[in-house]
Amino acid sequence: MSILVTPQTKVLVQGITGSFGARHAQLSIDYGTQVVAGVTPGKGGQVFEHKGVQVPIFDTVADAVKATGATTSAVFVPPPFAADAILEGVDAGLELVVAITEGIPVNDMVRVKRSMQGRSTRLIGPNCPGLVTPGEGKDSHGGCRIGIAPGYIHKKGHIGVVSRSGTLTYEAVYQLTSRGVGQSTCVGIGGDPVNGTSHLDVIRMFMADPDTHGIIMIGEIGGSAEEEAAEWIAKNGTKPVAGFIAGATAPPGRRMGHAGAIVSGGKGTAQAKFDAFRAAGIGVAATPSEMADTLLRMM
């Protein structure tokens, strides 16, 4: 098993006709993911074609869901329209909306989160690489890839990876795969200050997933989501967890690329997060080169 998505998950892509959305829809199809629909307002009735796979395009998410049974969406629409696109997916009753878009105004996400209260849809992101449940084939082909992660570096297995950063997730996955260790699901929760799914949400799912045997949790400076996850793990953790926090050398008050990666008013430092990890019995990788080894030593 895996969390959130399986190789059978039917995926629709919002913004499939934009260059970014199209490129990654193609890569997901190449990976063997069930991309069943695209949504671009005004282009309903057209077809997105890639290597013989025909993906019908719809004007609305509701139409796409009705016609194809898609349960999950990947949002690639530009920032000014992203909040609307996310809530359209929620309204259509999707189980999971994965927002890849970077640069959504914070207040838009504040409204989106408020509006999603009491709804059953889960949001991952925004400003995230998405998620991958590796498949059985060569280079993990046949898995479910939603977003922009490189599918081929994965390997089917039993380690869960959760991270706020894209390339740092790939780094951890690559370290695992090159040591012959596979992953159950790898989730990028995104680098924005307001996101749909937290470290803790994903950690709870991994702890409950019988096929996940160990977890790598990657955080960065800013906020207190890593501390909250660590506190929960200290009380409820049943599987080994190793972690790393990026940004120990970042100057306070500066945003380090990600909108949420900022130490302000002495809050959200890497030191505080590392301390919380140690207090919770989470294995701390001394450098990002040792994320996989730190976990494997604990297993």
Binding site: Y152, G223, T249, A259
Partner: protein, 401 residues
């Protein structure tokens, strides 16, 4: 994006928030006219405030020896003297670094008699994903200090974004601050206005410190924002043309401005090892691993997920314009990005810039074999690192040598 105090007060005023009377001035003549207007209106004391983004202005010193970036004046002549000593001069504060900032604008404003100081701020509470209003009776001091020593003195009110701020929330805060009568009613209006300013301008943070009860020339009590700081959400600037126009490029590092033209995310630091990395998290951890092995990073530089040859070339030029740089560490995990495109970009940039400094490259991911072959065939002296740790050790050693 940060804006100046006088710009923050202009925004607040648009939302009906009380700020002291005053004007921004770019010349001594303008300062004289503003001072004359204020004294003419019955004010007996005015304040001349240097407008730079860095804090600690009051305790700062100008490079020509004049002390204080914020001064009180009792006469027009005094105001003119202060304006002369501030405008066009370089102010050094604990936040500017030794190079200081040139004061282009001063704010000349009424300095009413302060009877009591408070703190008021609106910011995002990341834990609840809601706007949070914070207030405290401990005005004029840093809120972090209050949070540390007497957290019970901080009042907090979360706003439901579906409803917006309700007047009862402002009343709770005003009451919690111990306000009564006319000042209570004025404070409620002010708090509502400050919240509205924050929400409608897409501010990341609005901080009024101090908010103060003052005695006006007519002897009445009123409540005003004596100082104001606003920072805006960069992601939302596209829908605020008026606020975009407030950007002051003189307050930003020239290298950071240059980088932003190429969609590169660059932040200059004080160390000697320049980094060029794809992805914010990997870029931060590259800085961390340099420090772990005993070096100091010269910058944060994220070239993004789909870096082109032009971007790599621009990135090299930017990091090389920092005179402190003694070596370069390129750390690329090409997930989707083709490593060979990056390698070609590196080779071209090295040839173009005539790079003489040690260059350590760690390349991993898509089409990495071709990328490494391109680097090897270039005839350039490029030190190759197999892992992040290996490359970091090598670049630190290159600087130490």
């Amino acid at each position: 994006m940060n804006i100046h105090e006088y710009q923050a007060k202009q925004l607040l005023k648009q939302y009906g928030v009380a700020v002291p009377a005053g004007d921004p001035c770019k010349t001594v003549e303008e300062a004289r006219a503003a001072a004359e207007r204020l004294f003419g209106a019955g004010h007996t004391l005015i304040v001349i405030k240097s407008q730079i983004h860095a804090g600690g202005r009051g305790k700062g010193t100008f490079t020509h020896g004049f002390k204080g970036g914020v001064k009180l004046a009792k006469s027009v002549e005094e105001a003119v003297d202060f304006a002369t000593n501030m405008l066009g001069k370089t102010l050094v504060t604990k936040q500017t670094g030794p190079e200081g900032r040139v004061v282009q604008t001063i704010l000349v404003a009424a300095a009413e008699k302060i009877l009591k100081e408070f703190y008021l701020a609106v910011l995002l509470d990341r834990a609840t994903s809601r706007p949070l209003i914070m207030a405290s009776t401990e005005g004029g001091v840093e809120i972090e200090e209050v949070a540390e020593k007497s957290p019970e003195k901080i009042l907090k009110e979360w706003v439901d974004p579906a409803v917006g701020i309700m007047p009862y929330q402002a009343r709770k805060i005003a009451s919690g601050l111990g306000l009564k009568g006319d000042v209570f009613n004025a404070a409620v209006k002010l708090i509502m206005g400050v919240y509205k300013t924050s929400w409608e301008t897409d501010a990341a943070m609005v901080e009024i410190n101090p908010l103060a009860i003052v005695e006006t020339p007519s002897g009445k009590e009123s409540i005003v924002c004596v100082d104001a700081k606003i920072s805006l959400d960069d992601n939302a600037l596209y829908r605020h043309a008026d606020i975009q126009a407030m950007r002051d490029l003189a307050e930003e590092s020239p290298l950071e401005i240059e980088a932003s033209k190429f969609s590169l995310n660059y932040i200059k630091l004080d160390g000697s090892i320049a980094c060029l990395v794809n992805g914010a998290g990997l870029a931060m951890s590259t800085m961390d691993i340099i420090q772990h092995f005993g070096g100091m990073p010269a910058n944060f530089l994220d070239v993004g997920g789909g870096a082109s040859k032009d971007q790599v070339s621009a990135a090299f030029k930017i990091i090389l314009s920092d005179p402190n740089v003694k070596a370069i560490f390129v750390n690329i995990f090409g997930g989707i990005m083709d490593c060979n495109v990056i390698a070609t970009g590196i080779v071209e940039a090295v040839k173009e810039t005539g790079l003489k400094l040690p260059l350590v490259v760690r390349l991993e991911g898509n089409n990495v074999a071709a990328g490494k072959a391109t680097l090897a065939a270039s005839g350039l002296t490029i030190i190759s690192g197999d892992t992040m740790a290996d490359a970091a050790r090598k670049v630190v050693a290159a600087v130490a040598a």
